[in-house]
């Protein structure tokens, strides 16, 4: 009797705390959403209004008309798609090699791969920029995409799932005379489709949200990606808050939709690195 009572109290407390944090985390989203359809004066108004008195879409219109939002959205999308496709190809190919072949120096090379994740971005930031200028890649999509296209995490991730591909299947294909690349492409790759989906979402998200590297590489405005342009809209003294909030919201939508569509595989995939290390 007494036991169930304390248990009920504990449960109420636990739920109370979890919901309190959940509401605290949802508040910035809700407040942003509400402010995208407000007049600037109402954003500053006391007391704050959750549902605007005169909701309107002028901030969104201004975003497309004054800030050429569609162009920057497409820049981001193009870079993210090319990055994702090339990353998936290179990572699965190398992951396949590490999982399904034995070759001299394999363990050493894999150790180098893991070690490469330790190199801090900012340490190589300045020389990398100099290099990209020398290669003539500055102010181009290629300059944004190429340096980070063969990330070690993706290879590590794909190796994990390639290991589950049955070796007998590959051997029988070899007996039938298939080339090694064909074995990778037509047998191994279709079998790891779920892992590819997870890595695709991760790669797309990383590229879509990337800020500091595109910030230095993309000099001319018409090439710039959403985070770079949005950061440029932030001006601590004079700023159209409603427009900036609308940009922030719209830029988050693709990732949010992608995540909600694939959340199960996505959450399982994210923790792979943590479990294995």
């Amino acid at each position: 009797m007494d036991d169930t009572l304390t248990r009920r109290a504990q449960r109420t407390l636990a739920y109370g705390f979890l919901f309190f944090i959940l509401i605290a985390m949802a508040t910035p989203f809700v407040w942003m959403l509400s402010n995208t359809i407000k007049e600037q004066s109402e954003i500053f108004q006391m007391p704050p209004t959750l549902i605007p008195e005169e909701p309107h879409l002028r901030n969104y219109v201004s975003l497309f008309v004054d800030f050429d939002f569609a162009r920057h959205f497409l820049n981001s999308a193009f870079i993210a798609v090319v990055h994702t496709v090339s990353h998936l190809f290179l990572a699965s190919l190398a992951g396949f090699a590490f999982a399904k072949y034995t070759f001299p120096l394999k363990n050493f090379l894999f150790l180098v791969l893991l070690g490469s994740m330790m190199v801090p971005l900012y340490t190589i930031f300045i020389p990398l920029f100099v290099l990209v200028i020398r290669l003539g890649l500055v102010n181009s999509y290629a300059g944004v995409i190429i340096p980070g296209v063969a990330g070690a995490f993706g290879i590590f991730f794909m190796k994990q799932s390639m290991e589950a591909v049955p070796g007998e299947l590959l051997d029988s294909a070899r007996i039938d005379g298939a080339s090694e690349f064909r074995i990778y492409w037509q047998i191994a790759l279709p079998l790891v489709r779920p892992a590819l989906a997870v890595l695709a979402v991760l790669a797309f998200m990383g590229s879509w949200n990337d800020f500091v590297w595109p910030l230095v590489v993309l000099r001319s405005r018409e090439l710039q990606t959403l985070p770079v342009v949005m950061a440029g809209m932030v001006n601590l003294y004079r700023m159209e808050y409603g427009v900036v909030m609308a940009a922030s919201l719209l830029s988050t939508m693709p990732i949010l939709l992608l995540f909600l569509a694939l959340q199960k595989q996505f959450l399982a995939g994210l923790t792979v690195g943590a479990v294995k290390s």
Binding site: R11, F17, L18, I21, L22, M25, F29, N35, I43, F44, P47, P48, L90, A97, Y101, F103, L109, V112, M118, V119, P120, Y122, I124, F125, I126, P127, L128, V130, L131, I146, P147, A150, A152, I155, P166, D171, A173, I175, G177, E180, Q186, P190, L191, N209, D210, M230, A231, Y241, V244, M245, S248, L249, S251, T252, Q263, L267, T271, A274, V275, S277
Partner: protein, 335 residues
């Protein structure tokens, strides 16, 4: 191997990808042409050594890109850090001059302190909060687990830019949401983006964005603890606290190490939040090492000095990673 092996495969797993593979196999069997055994030259060499060469070909893109875009720049950064160079024209060799100047540069020391402050804040605030949330979600008290798991995770989907922009309207010194809330309670507005409080505000943005992913990591760790351990402890009469102290905490060790290293590396590379929330200010109060490196290397075109900052940052990160691994006994041999 031959046919029997393949038949077993087909029977064992009738999933779609396997069917694809299977139909491919049948096709190649039907269409394969037997090559004469005495074929010579390049082709013969290739059919002999394809399996030895191919793995290197498959992994080579990574190593080529890694050498060109990471190892090369890493070495070049070291070289640059020994020079004074505005990005064009001749370089001037200054030995360790950049490093000795760095040691006495008040702005760098301030950015170092700020960065350490953020890292300590992450360890004292984000990680304990994430652990408590994970323990609660994992406990038998809570039934609707996925609502919280997913709800807490959503913030990290936003870019750091979008996230920080959201918080501009929350921490604004005059009309931010927090101050509006305080005003409703009759409490005078606090200046969240002024020198005294700006680091707290940056930490709040980081807490909002990074708590959820750490909840997930801890949950993974908690769920990988074998339930038999708890059952055995209960049989031995161990209470809830004893179970937590002697089973949960030791079993969480590997995941805690991972989370600790990732959090430390992330904290030391904090960039967008202080930049967009307060432009590193006011009076450099929120400036991080990465912000200062960017300011020196790109805004002020001091590429040598910026590279020296980068190498100091790398040494700090390597050193702290090593200490963490050492403290958690990652180098000890399992007996």
């Amino acid at each position: 191997m031959g046919l029997t092996g393949r038949e077993e495969q087909i029977r064992a797993a009738p999933a779609t990808p396997l069917q694809t593979a299977q139909s491919f196999l049948t096709n190649t069997v039907d269409s394969s042409i037997m090559k004469p055994a005495d074929e010579k030259g390049l082709r013969a060499w290739w059919s002999r050594s394809e399996r030895k060469v191919v793995p290197y070909v498959f992994i080579s893109p990574f190593y080529i890109l890694f050498i060109v875009f990471s190892v090369g720049p890493l070495i070049y950064a070291l070289y640059l850090s020994l020079h004074r160079w505005p990005g064009s024209g001749p370089m001037r060799h200054v030995g360790l001059g950049n490093y000795t100047y760095l040691a006495g540069d008040p702005v760098f020391l301030k950015s170092l302190w700020n960065t350490v402050y953020y890292a300590i804040g992450a360890f004292l605030f984000i990680l304990p909060l994430a652990l408590v949330l994970a323990l609660l979600i994992n406990s038998t008290l809570i039934r609707i687990k996925s609502l919280f798991r997913i709800g807490y995770f959503l913030p990290i989907l936003t870019s750091t830019v979008a996230a920080t922009i959201m918080f501009l309207l929350i921490f604004n010194n005059q009309f931010g949401l927090i101050n509006q809330g305080l005003a409703l309670l009759g409490i005078p507005a606090l200046k969240w983006l002024d020198e005294e409080l700006v680091k707290i505000s940056v930490l709040a943005v980081a807490t909002w964005r990074y708590t959820g992913i750490n909840v997930l990591y801890f949950l993974t760790g908690l769920q990988s603890i074998p339930p038999e351990l708890y059952e055995a402890a209960q049989v031995d009469g161990a209470g809830a606290w004893a179970q937590f102290r002697y089973i949960t905490i030791p079993q969480l060790r590997p995941i805690a190490l991972f989370v600790g290293v990732v959090t430390m590396i992330g904290s030391f590379q904090l960039f967008a939040e202080p930049l967009l929330l307060a432009n590193g200010g006011p009076n450099d109060a929120s400036l991080t090492i990465a912000n200062y490196l960017y300011r020196m290397g790109f805004t002020n075109a001091k590429l040598g000095y910026g590279s020296a900052i980068g190498w100091v940052l790398a040494l700090i990160i390597f050193g702290l990673s090593f200490i963490q691994l050492y403290l958690f006994g990652a180098f000890r041999k399992e007996d």
